[in-house]
């Protein structure tokens, strides 16, 4: 990095460029340039000169002695990855690659392995070098740390870096990525790891009292794992793998599977089916993972299946076993509950002959089930058949019952309706005997419907079942707690029903079907009263069809998907006097306004509910002084998660809670509710709403809540709070200067939180000899223009940019970490962290905004600001800091002007703050909110 020294003041832009043009050479202070391959020849000498510089604060600037780089290359370099990733090195041998990385690649920011990325470490602010030199000082980068630990569902705080280091020390593997890969798998789920080698004790079973810490325990476990690592069972079948994949020669098959095979879609054993495996995300085993970590849907299935087969875990909900079997075991083991048991046993001989291992697995599982003394609810009909009898061998009894019931053509399962099946499938109408066998052997795979409430054809059309039958898919989803609708007019049956009977949590559709069977509901069999009256009505009006194969059946209250969520609201919300609606609660500017609004309304002494319709960051809630008891977190109610329900939920909450006032603080569903039901809501509650700024869509059209809802909801709103004069002017323009609306619009200035520091004092206190640095903080989203920041940073290579933030809305990679003079600082907790960097100025590049709360915080700190002249920004900083255009060149020009004239500019800032920001107090904010709410 090229280091640039700043004079106190008065330096011209020409001076800046002249210093910059010194290029990669050493400056007068003997600071060492790194990160430029042109200087590699002088490195050994430089390294010698470096001794004693260990107190350099920026880890990214810390150079490494050659011997250490060689050590790193030996230990961490994945030559296969390195060669493949850098085609210019294609011709080099392994040894040459190691030498290259140590001597060149390290400083050229080339990644040594797929898991050790310079960019990841750079975003942590330490760089790969810093991490490698002082690994204990830094946590793992996001790629490892977040995925491996934070997202894994493990709740203890492992020092994962130490763990990996220890794994390296104890594991007899030559490559660090192999250890890391296993660590990742371990971190995702101990159960998976245990299943990988069922002969080994689980980490979680490891006697904790023998070790003083998790790290030590894991260390010992891995040692055991490593020493026995060639013996696998249950999950990885080396014999199968070696025979199936004959392209592999002279490799450790297990390592190959972990390192490559799983990503290549290779199967680890004969029973790991395509559905779970390839279907997970069409990416094989790695499909179980995404950027957010393990995909729970698939992880649960695999873990539980494996553990169940191993017979180790006795704690899991037993009912789910058959769902797992249905999903995981290939071939004919496709069904669930009554279906699967009946079918499997009926076809046992055939199955055993053709797919012996799978049949054995099914029988073993059944035996295990019965050995546990379990019965209901896997087959309630069977249990009824043995009621009151002493059964010595459940399995034999079951097999016998299955045979008998088939001979007698009795109902084998509540979800199979013989007459309905025949009626729906006219080709089976004259089939002799029971059509159940047809369903078992063919119908279920053809997604034929066999029950009025269970429409397999519809399920098959509504979902990607990954080539499996709709029946299998339905019960698979149910078994992992993600129920789907069994028919178009029926809600997901176990989706949130809170009845005390546990069986509702699993097998919900069977329970409903059982009730219907017992009470002859939807009994359309010939000769029933229901079929008779329909037939009679069809004679009066032929539009009423006696039997209609496309007629849908439904039943209240299961006919409404919103019901499970709705029924929970009463308990979650209760009675409230005031409700504030937010989409979610996180670290954004609107949440700062939420803090002020909550504080203002708390003055009333009335009960407040902050309704969040999506995720809530409780750290923000705490930081903003909002009582958690007042947060109504609808994201915790799964069934409320459908966007089309949300406006109804908002309405229900307003009416149900009997609140007297509502405040919409950037909540989309609340806007829809006000638009649709505002005239009704008004009869019960005063309606206020905040509007901050216009947004832009991808086509640069004006978008956002003010654009969408101002005109359509204005008549219902008692008060409209805007944060800038600019937005009020804009809204009045849109309403033709309406006096009616002008009375409703209140400019509500966000309060300052801290006392205002002097910009003059801030600038005077900056260290005298240091490099120029600029602070930038915000979301890495389109609105905040991180791409513009990047461009500016590239144009000012001599300036260091400290950048705080993360992407919230955008999926775009702005590649900020690739710019050498951008230092990604993560998220800041308090604005003091920005001040502590002693930057010369704060840069704000947003393309549209109201009055950004961050600018108020920066003004409080006394840092000079260069900002885009958009929205209400001109109401927060003096005009000297405004940039009118959108080009990087204009920003660079303004920045250089600021640096050259910082003393004068700081005085302008102080004068501005004195004159314009003093009235921004919580008291004034509270007064306006309460007055407008009382006055209307």
């Amino acid at each position: 990095m090229i280091t640039f020294f700043r004079r106190k003041s008065g330096k011209t832009s020409e001076d800046l460029s002249s210093v910059s043009n010194k290029g990669a050479g050493c400056n007068e202070n003997n600071d060492i340039p790194v990160g430029n391959s042109q200087n590699n020849e002088s490195l050994p000498e430089i390294e010698e000169a470096l001794e004693g510089l260990q107190d350099v604060k920026s880890e990214s600037e810390k150079p490494l002695p050659l011997f250490l780089r060689q050590e790193i290359a030996n230990k961490f370099l994945d030559v296969v990855f390195y060669r493949k990733n850098y085609p210019d090195l294609n011709e080099l041998t392994d040894d040459e690659l190691t030498k290259h990385f140590a001597e060149h690649g390290f400083y050229e920011f080339r990644d040594p392995s797929i898991l050790l990325r310079h960019s990841e470490f750079s975003e942590m602010g330490c760089g790969l070098c810093g991490w490698l030199v002082e690994p204990d000082f830094y946590s793992l980068p996001s790629s490892l740390w977040e995925i491996a630990v934070q997202k894994s569902g493990l709740h203890y705080d492992l020092d994962s870096l130490t763990v990996v280091t220890k794994i390296l020390n104890v594991w007899k593997v030559s490559k660090v990525y192999e250890a890391e890969l296993l660590f990742l798998i371990f971190s995702h789920s101990g159960e998976v790891t245990r299943a990988i080698n069922g002969n080994l004790p689980s980490y979680f079973d490891w006697a904790s009292e023998e070790y003083s810490s998790d790290v030590d325990r894991l260390h010992a476990w891995f040692y055991e794992f490593a020493n026995n690592g060639t013996s696998f069972s249950n999950f990885f079948d080396e014999n199968f793998y070696s025979k199936k994949y004959t392209d592999l020669k002279d490799v450790n098959y297990f390592y190959h599977f972990l390192a490559h095979g799983c990503d290549e879609g290779r199967l680890p054993n004969a029973i790991f089916c395509d559905y779970q495996y390839h279907g997970s995300a069409s990416k094989g085993f790695s499909g179980f993972y995404n950027n957010d970590g393990l995909i729970p849907e698939y992880a649960t299935g695999v873990n539980v299946f494996l553990n169940r087969v191993c017979g180790e875990d006795k704690c899991y909900e037993f009912q789910r076993l058959f769902g797992k079997l249905a999903s995981v075991v290939n071939g004919k083991f496709d069904c669930y509950s009554d279906f699967s048991i009946f079918m499997n046993l009926f076809n046992a001989d055939y199955l055993h002959a053709s797919i012996g291992e799978r049949a054995r697995l099914g029988f073993d599982t059944l035996r295990w089930w019965f050995s546990e003394g379990r019965s209901v609810p896997f087959s309630p009909l069977f249990c009824r058949s043995i009621e009151g009898r002493d059964v010595s061998d459940w399995l034999d009894e079951f097999v016998s019952w299955v045979g008998d019931s088939n001979k007698q053509a009795e109902i084998p399962c509540y979800l199979y309706d013989e007459e309905f099946y025949r009626l729906r499938n006219i080709d089976l109408a004259s089939m002799p005997g029971s059509a159940f066998l047809h369903f078992i052997n063919h119908g279920q795979f053809e997604n034929r419907q066999a029950h009025p409430l269970f429409d397999l054809a519809w399920i098959g059309h509504a979902h990607n079942t990954f080539g499996r039958s709709a029946l299998d898919y339905y019960f698979y989803r149910e078994s992992v707690g993600q129920s789907i609708k069994p028919a178009p007019e029926i809600m997901p049956i176990n989706g949130g029903l809170d009845f005390s009977d546990e069986q509702w949590l699993i097998g919900g559709i069977q329970s409903v079907a059982e009730y219907f069977y017992e009470n002859r509901i939807f009994d359309l069999s010939s000769g029933t009263e229901l079929s008779r009256v329909i037939s009679a009505a069809s004679k009066i009006d032929p539009q009423i069809k006696k039997y209609d194969p496309i007629r849908t059946c439904s039943v209240m209250p299961f006919n409404h998907d919103a019901w499970p969520g709705m029924r929970k609201l009463a308990d979650v919300v209760g009675r409230r006097d005031i409700l504030i609606f937010r989409d979610g609660i996180n670290f954004g500017g609107a949440d700062v306004v939420l803090k002020h609004c909550y504080q203002a309304l708390s003055e009333t002494g009335l009960s407040i509910g902050v309704v969040a319709l999506s995720d809530v960051d409780y750290q923000v809630v705490d930081a903003h002084g909002i009582s958690r008891d007042d947060v109504i977190d609808l994201s915790s109610i799964d069934e409320t998660n459908r966007n089309d329900f949300k406006p109804h939920l908002v309405y229900d909450i307003i009416i149900g809670s009997q609140c007297k006032s509502i405040f919409n603080l950037n909540c989309g569903a609340a806007w829809v509710a006000i638009e649709d039901y505002g005239k009704i809501i008004k009869k019960r509650a005063k309606i206020s709403a905040f509007m901050f700024c216009d947004d832009r869509d991808v086509y640069e059209n004006v978008a956002g809540y003010p654009a969408r809802y101002f005109i359509s909801t204005a008549r219902h709103l008692d008060s409209i709070f805007v944060d800038s004069d600019a937005l009020k002017t804009e809204l009045l323009k849109r309403s033709a200067g309406s006096n009616n609306l002008a009375k409703k619009i209140h400019v509500l200035h966000s309060p300052l939180i801290n006392s205002i520091a002097s910009t003059v004092a801030y600038v005077d206190n900056l260290p005298e000899r240091r490099s120029i640095s600029i602070a930038w903080a915000g979301r890495f989203d389109e609105q905040k223009c991180p791409d513009l920041l990047r461009e500016i940073a590239i144009m000012l290579p001599e300036v260091k940019f400290h950048v705080w933030g993360k992407a919230v809305l955008s999926k775009k990679n702005y590649n900020l970490s690739s710019v050498p003079n951008i230092i990604l600082e993560g998220l800041y907790s308090v604005v003091d962290e920005i001040t502590a960097k002693e930057c010369d100025l704060y840069l704000y590049t947003s393309r549209w905004d109201g009055i950004p709360t961050i600018l108020l915080r920066i003004q409080e700190q006394g840092i000079p600001i260069v900002a885009s002249d958009v929205g209400g920004v001109s109401e927060a900083i003096p005009s000297v800091g405004l940039v009118k255009g959108y080009s990087a060149g204009e920003y660079v020009e303004k920045i250089r002007y600021f640096i050259d004239n910082l003393s004068d500019i700081s005085e302008v800032f102080d004068a501005y703050k004195q004159e314009n920001l003093a009235e921004r107090t919580q008291e004034n904010f509270t007064e306006i909110i309460l007055e407008s709410n009382n006055g209307n």
Partner: protein, 245 residues
């Protein structure tokens, strides 16, 4: 001789669709009378009806000996109430002018009354077990069953459990009347409100096993339905969380 049951068929712009409606009502009456010696009256109530509907009503009234009464309420609940005011039956059986009853409907209702002798001033409100929606839609739906383990009164915060068609004591309608819809203020679904209010008053709702209400869904109903999304049932005790008192 006192009238036991007054059948009320409300019509508006149904035109010839009234024919199958009347015929289904007649079948249900015939079946009831074949088992019980009862005095029944039938009133076709025409609310702001068009000429086709008036003509059809006159036609079938003459054929079957039904009464006709015209009103101009422009509101389904008020039309029913006006009709109820003009009849004298102890029990009221409602039917919309384009829907059909199953032939067992009245028989099942009367048998229920005989078997259960519902107590209290109002007795119970009886509903057919199923609605079979036909025409532009095709759905067989089982209505809310207070006797089933799945019944949940909180469902009524979300939507109605029962169609307006029902069988109940006339005195109940007189004491707890249908309220006029006020769509411009965002309130509609007078039958939904009536169900909530009767429930809140302690009146029981009961399903008649295997009785079917055939509901005709006509083209255009879909857009009408979309528009109805923006109206809600009036506030009532069941709209509120927890103790409403």
């Amino acid at each position: 001789m006192a009238t036991d049951i007054s059948v009320i068929i409300t019509a508006h712009k149904e035109g010839e669709l009234l024919y199958p409606t009347v015929r289904s009502a007649n079948e249900a009456i015939r079946k009831l009378k074949s088992n019980h010696d009862l005095n029944l009256s039938v009133l076709i109530y025409l609310d702001d009806a068009d000429d086709y509907t008036k003509s059809a009503a006159k036609d079938v009234a003459e054929l079957y000996g039904f009464d006709i009464l015209e009103g101009s309420n422009g509101d389904p609940g008020q039309a029913r109430m006006d009709a109820i005011q003009h009849v004298t039956g102890e029990y009221i059986a409602l039917l919309d002018g384009d829907d059909l009853w199953s032939d067992n409907w009245l028989q099942l209702c009367w048998q229920y009354i005989l078997d259960n002798s519902p107590e209290g001033k109002y007795g119970d409100i009886l509903h057919p077990e199923y609605n079979l929606i036909f025409g532009a839609h095709n759905l067989l739906v089982r209505q809310g069953d207070p006797g089933s383990p799945f019944y949940d009164e909180e469902f009524l915060r979300l939507t109605n459990y029962w169609d307006a068609l029902c069988f109940a004591r006339r005195q109940l309608f007189l004491d707890i009347s249908y309220q006029k819809n006020d769509v411009s203020s965002g309130f509609a679904h007078e039958d939904y409100l009536w169900m909530c209010e009767t429930l809140s008053s302690g009146v029981s709702h009961v399903l008649m096993k295997d009785a079917v209400h055939f509901k005709r869904r006509r083209m255009g109903s879909v857009s009408q339905f979309a528009e109805e999304r923006k109206v809600k049932v009036r506030f009532n005790n069941l709209s509120l969380y927890g103790d409403s008192n």
